[in-house]
Amino acid sequence: MGYVELRCRYCGAPLDVTPDSVVVVCRYCGQPNFLDGSAGRALAVPTLSASEVIRRAVERTKRDFNLGRRMRDINFAAPTLLYLPFYLVDVAMSAVYKARVVVSYTKTVYVGGRPQTRVVTRTVDVEGAVRLSDVVAVLARRSAWGLSVDKLVDHFFKTAPEPKPLPEVAKEAATASAFLAGEFTEEQAKAKAVRALVPKLLAAVDSDASERARARLGVIAAATSVVDKAVDYTVDKLAVSPLTYLPMWIVPYFYKGSHYSYYSAGWDGAVVVAEEPSFVENKAISAVGAAATAGLLGGLGAAIAVAADPLFGAAALAGGAAAAYLAAGGLLKSRRVET
């Protein structure tokens, strides 16, 4: 299980390198060594210190409805910093389309001087063009990260912290070892971004086609469905940023001895995803949900089954039981996620 030995460019001492290393700070001379050729161009958002991140996590906990009243049982442990590699891809795409839209609307007609409502269904052929642009953050690793990465990206776009050149950020050993190597090339990141945008573009085509169909018929309130469409895409712009590292802290805490985590954005300490215990009040909500669905559907179902329509009543009863079964899932969960 050995590694290829790498040595410090400045003093020649051996470096502690893992396959995931991007930058390694030499233990002897303290100089950062960049292992990946492209790391020189990479950017990184500076992070707050560990103690500052914990301070914000504690503040968030005090404000939290469920956790705030249980502060006495909560202890925070040392957080772990991860610098996750992203490509920010600026995509602009346009689509020229031809579509067939079914429009249904209600119309008031006068039959013998008395108003009557009629549903009119018409099929309209429309064509048009839509354009869509977006900046998509693509995690440059194909690993099973989930919600925390999405929320970190949302928070990044909302707060827009300034990335700095990687060498300015990765100066200390503790920070340097947090950088995770990127797995994708820029081209793969572009592919991911395009893939993320195509469904949005198709949705924009649908709404544009519906709009045109309504306008053609001169109706404002009408249900539309696009039954057939031919779309031709063009990519107008596809520009990718240098690899950009965003800091995420995993802040573990213990509640009565069991282990949970916060996921915090490193630049401002905001908790983007909080894993929390499922407390009695959370379970009570599930229980009320189960009782409400079972009571309403089952109660009405049984009464209707006996008094009016046995088949319909029995179906409602069975539906109530199924809904209660599903709602009880919340009672079995030991943890919840707050974002």
Binding site: M1, L147, H259, A294
Partner: protein, 281 residues
């Protein structure tokens, strides 16, 4: 048939006709009668103690308060075999990528449905005579295992489609990779429970756990509360629409059996509690 490992000398039983034979003791891989050299490993980053700590501090619903004091009895590192592919999409060379897929049809522990294996952070594997874990043999064809990488192919197709390029899908097998998972057993009040932890990052993948008397009682209490609430609400709903309230109460009570069934089967009357990881945060 019996295979003798050329490295450690151990003999092991394996069905004939397989593309790879992996020695369960030292991890040496054989292919077509020769030692197969392209073997990699994901280094286990979580040790036995940390793995037990992750499990015993996890505290699923209705687990006893003193679960952290349970005694660890067995810890075995299992290495799942993955195939490492180099996938390319001619003529778009820039999309070529490495990817890994599980090479066994029967992993030793249940894995979450959306579990994805990394491809890049592998290091070359060299067998040692020191016992590090149990190595599992690939039993799927590389062709069959490749089908689980649909996502990688779809992504390239979506990209190619936009640029109106027709791409092919080509792959070659680059090697075998071992992925480490801890299989643990612990005792709590004379009973044994099993668990599994991802040894690369400490995620609890699966665990069995004792259900405390208090946990069982709480589950029954919740079932009763749901039934009472449903009956009351059912009576009110029936009365509101002018039907007999007693019928409504009975109906609400019957429908609440759905919730009760789930609580009783999973907690109140279950022999052991079971937790399965769904997705990672």
């Amino acid at each position: 048939m019996i295979v003798q490992c050329p490295f450690c000398g151990a003999k092991y039983e394996a069905p004939p006709g397989r593309r790879f034979y992996v020695c369960p003791y030292c991890g040496t891989a054989l292919s077509e009668g020769k030692t197969y050299e392209n073997v990699y490993i994901f280094k286990p980053a979580v040790d036995k103690t940390a793995a037990f700590k992750a499990v015993l501090n996890f505290r699923p619903t209705a687990a006893p308060e003193d679960l952290p004091a349970a005694s660890p009895v067995e810890a075995e590192l299992h290495f799942l075999p993955l195939y490492l592919y180099y996938v390319s999409f001619p003529p778009l060379d820039q999309l070529a990528t490495y990817a890994t897929a599980l090479a066994t049809s029967s992993p030793p522990v249940p894995l979450p449905p959306s579990f994805r294996f990394p491809a890049r952070w592998r290091t070359p594997f060299k067998p040692t005579l020191e016992r590090v874990g149990v190595f599992h043999s690939p039993d799927l064809d590389p062709e069959a295992a490749f089908t689980s990488l649909q996502e990688v192919v779809e992504e390239a197709r979506a990209y190619a489609q936009v640029f109106k390029v027709k791409i092919g899908v080509e792959w070659r097998l680059e090697g075998l990779v071992y992925y480490p998972i801890w299989r643990l057993a612990y005792d709590y009040r004379g009973r044994r429970y099993s668990a599994a932890v991802d040894a690369t990052d400490g995620t609890v993948l699966y665990m069995e756990y004792p259900i405390s008397a208090r946990g069982r009682a709480e589950a029954l209490g919740m079932a009763a509360a749901v039934a009472a609430g449903a009956a009351a609400l059912g009576a009110m709903a029936a009365a509101y629409v002018g039907l007999p309230p007693a019928l409504g109460a009975a109906g609400g009570g019957v429908a609440s059996l759905g919730a009760a069934t789930r609580l009783v089967l999973n907690l109140a009357a279950a022999r052991v509690g079971k937790y399965k990881a769904e997705k990672r945060l």
